[in-house]
């Protein structure tokens, strides 16, 4: 092998590595995806296997408003990400606030849905297999929304105090990545629970 082709100490090397925060968050997302996969598989496996009611067709309503809110929050957080990269902090706070409001609407919608299911339709975790799998899967997703909301709210408070600028854009990028994941999972949960499963 000719030594002319191989790298040589005298030659200076270009050295760029991916951001550790993005890599770490991607790794977390891969792991979380496996958790969701198991719960989705359980949901699909037990679809229509409950020996008694209520069934999904009887009690579930398609949460269109909540879905629109959550999916559009992906767009608003993307705008916030662009804003913090360009150091437009006013715009950043507005888009972040919009993201938080959309997430709150989504969670409020879930709360109302669960309230109706529990008190009107009498569906709890222990009622039947549908209840067990439904509350686990949707609850797991809602838990992730709550965690994301906590992160976003913390960042929002920091931005109100003026502690943030473009130097933190990489950190915020990791949170945004998580939020996009939470939205993407909702597409799967929505499809499985409200479209296929109903």
């Amino acid at each position: 092998m000719s030594s002319g082709l191989v790298s040589h100490p005298a030659r200076s090397i270009e050295w760029h590595l991916p951001s550790k925060r993005r890599v770490g968050m991607t790794a977390l997302i891969v792991g979380e995806s496996a958790i969701f996969t198991i719960f989705v598989v359980a949901y699909v496996f037990y679809m229509g296997k409950s020996p008694s009611g209520p069934t999904p067709a009887q009690v579930l309503e398609v949460p269109i408003l909540a879905t629109i809110c959550l999916l559009s929050s992906s767009i608003t957080i993307w705008r916030a990400e662009k804003a913090i990269e360009d150091d437009r902090m006013g715009s950043f706070s507005v888009w972040l606030g919009a993201t938080i409001s959309l997430a709150v609407v989504f969670l409020a919608n879930t709360a109302l849905e669960w309230n109706r299911l529990i008190y009107q339709d009498g569906l709890t975790v222990s009622t039947n297999l549908f209840g067990t799998t439904f509350y686990s899967l949707v609850g797991l997703h809602a838990t992730h929304v709550v965690v994301g909301l906590f992160l976003l709210t913390s960042v929002f408070i920091f931005s109100l105090f003026g502690w943030l600028d473009s130097r933190q854009s990489e950190r915020f990028g990791a949170i945004a990545l998580y939020w996009h994941f939470v939205d993407a999972v909702w597409i799967v949960v929505f499809t499985v629970v409200y479209l296929i499963g109903r």
């Binding site: 092998m1 790298s7 890599v23 496996f45 037990y46």
Partner: protein, 564 residues
């Protein structure tokens, strides 16, 4: 051993100056709040060494009970608890923390980094793992709970439903088991994320992926595999707790649930877990074998390819644990073939190690002896694995001592042997002192002899029909003498491990001073002092080949001229 001048000069020796200055309490506090990857690595190793002794004691109690028929050393209930705790301990509190300990200590040093990517996450992960372990053992005290029944989980380490339901597992023992695994699972997930981010984003200048030491490569693969392996278990444990506490029906067959789905979920975790444990063993062998043969590893790129292949194939073999539950012929054929397929990349690895040994100037130090034992035993473990992958053979031998012998050949014969090799190899780096070679040789020979007496014999017990998880047996089954032989072998291994533990602690004070590079090795961790300073390297290293230290020692014949 090495006379070569090393590039790094040592200005500060933090170990002695710190011990003179601080009181015991201050040093203890320093260890508790540490975020240094080296200290956390050592904590992991100490933690798992402790549980290795605990799990080993449980195994010995099991073997004493089985030494003679109709023995009353343990009651049936205690026996069930002990084999459950033995399995859970050895996999989750010994195997995983040992390997993460090595990763924590060695990976940042090998890639020339200052620390892990997320040092605080690293500390969090360790303490979660540690908390999980102590939570599991607390079940001996708290497992009876308010119900007054049950004490320590007794459902087997795979805890098949519906045995884990409230009706069959009253009390809190099973809850402690599930919670302990969830908690330590979060720790494991955090460490896996950390290792992946460290290896991808923290490499020093010039260390391209194909110049990483194979140890680091394998830990990258292990951490990616862990991400998708430990999480299904966590999900399944949450389902189990929902069943037990909220009245869910996931595994409740009376309400339409399925016990089969637990078996699937468990082995979707359980089989890749074997590779999560064994790939780090390969990683250690990949470092030790070349250094003690005085040759570069044979087939570096083939090793990387084979490891990646193992990662993918290992995700599609889980149901070979389930041939006896009654699957379709298509599933049986699929899982038989996919299991056999794992043999191909694994065979490539064995071939490469042997080719590395071939023509080398082999130094039979203790780490090398353990690696040679590993090669031999892992080959046999692989062959019995191929036998068990054939569904009809498995129908005959499932849940017999043949299976026990097979997986102990992997877990002890391959993994524990490599863990010992790794400890003897990196101990001088971590402490500055060599472990005693004399005691090490005693440890190796007693352990290898005890190992073969125990686990070779177990194969025959399995072929003679002895099932696993029985607390005693009839004297007329023809198993008596073989069982006694197995127990004697276990005792010999126990003595060997005690010699190891003695060596481990005594060498810290009395061992020969190691110097920076006692083995004349080639990777970056040996360029810094032993033990390394908190900051690892005084200057950020820059590498140009897979063996940077070789290049420094041999500027006239550097590796980069030969690597493409």
């Amino acid at each position: 051993m090495s006379d070569y001048p090393l590039p790094v000069t040592h200005v500060i020796d933090p170990s002695t100056s710190a011990s003179e200055r601080d009181t015991f309490l201050e040093r203890f506090h320093g260890w508790v709040v540490t975020v240094d990857h080296k200290r956390l690595g050592i904590l992991y190793i100490l933690y798992s060494t402790f549980f290795l002794l605990v799990g080993g004691a449980e195994a010995l109690a099991i073997r004493i009970q089985l030494a003679y028929p109709h023995l009353n050393f343990l009651s049936a209930q205690v026996y069930n608890r002990l084999f459950t705790m033995h399995g859970t301990t050895m996999v989750f509190l010994v195997g995983m923390p040992f390997l993460f300990g090595f990763a924590n200590y060695v990976v940042p040093l090998q890639i020339g980094a200052r620390d892990m990517a997320f040092p605080r996450l690293n500390a969090f992960s360790f303490w979660m793992t540690a908390f999980g372990g102590f939570l599991l053992y607390y079940s001996f005290l708290g497992g009876a709970g308010l119900y007054g029944v049950g004490n320590a989980p007794d459902v087997g380490w795979f805890a098949y439903a519906p045995l884990t339901s409230r009706a069959f597992s009253p009390g809190h023992a099973t809850d402690y088991w599930a919670l302990a695994l969830i908690v330590s699972g979060f720790g494991t997930l955090g460490t896996a994320i950390n290792i992946a981010a460290t290896i991808i984003s923290m490499r020093c200048k010039g260390m391209t992926l194909m110049r990483m030491p194979l140890f680091t490569w394998l830990f990258l693969i292990v951490s990616m595999l862990t991400l998708v392996t430990i999480t299904p278990l966590t999900a399944a444990q949450f389902m189990l707790l929902i069943d037990r506490y909220l009245g869910g029906h996931f595994f409740d067959t009376q309400a339409g649930g399925s016990s089969l789905i637990w078996i699937h979920f468990f082995w979707i975790f359980g089989h890749p877990e074997v590779y999560v444990l064994v790939l780090p063993a390969f990683a250690i062998a990949n470092e030790v074998i070349p250094v003690f043969c005085r040759k570069a590893i044979f087939g570096y790129s083939a090793m990387v390819t084979a490891s990646v292949a193992i990662m993918f194939v290992s995700l599609s073999v889980w149901a070979h644990h389930m041939f006896t539950v009654g699957m379709t012929s298509v599933s049986n054929a699929f899982f038989t073939l996919s299991t056999m397929l794992v043999g191909v990349p694994t065979g490539i690895k064995i071939f490469n190690w042997i080719a590395t040994l071939w023509g080398g100037r082999i130094r039979f130090t203790t780490p090398m002896l353990f690696c040679i034992g590993f090669l031999f035993q892992f080959l046999i473990a692989g062959l019995t694995g191929i036998m068990l992958s054939v569904a009809p053979w498995d129908w005959q031998l499932h849940n017999s001592y043949f299976v026990i012998a097979h997986f102990h050949y992997v877990l002890v014969g391959a993994i524990v042997f490599c863990i010992f090799a790794g400890i003897y190899y990196w101990y001088p780096k971590a402490t500055g002192r060599l472990m005693s070679e004399t005691l090490g040789k005693w440890h190796f020979w007693l352990f290898v002899i005890g190992f073969h007496i125990t686990f070779d014999t177990m194969h025959f017990l399995g072929l003679l029909g002895m099932p696993r998880s029985i607390y005693t047996y009839q004297p007329d089954r023809g198993w008596n003498s073989l069982n006694l032989v197995v127990s004697v072998g276990g005792l010999i291994q126990g003595i060997a491990v005690l010699i190891f533990a003695y060596n481990f602690f005594i060498s810290y004070r009395r061992g020969k001073v190691a110097g920076d590079d006692p083995w004349d090795a080639w990777t970056l961790e040996w360029t810094t002092s032993s033990p390394p300073p908190v900051y690892n390297f005084e200057e950020d290293p820059e590498v140009h080949s897979r063996r940077p230290l070789w290049d420094l020692k041999h500027p006239d014949d550097p590796d980069w001229e030969y690597e493409s």
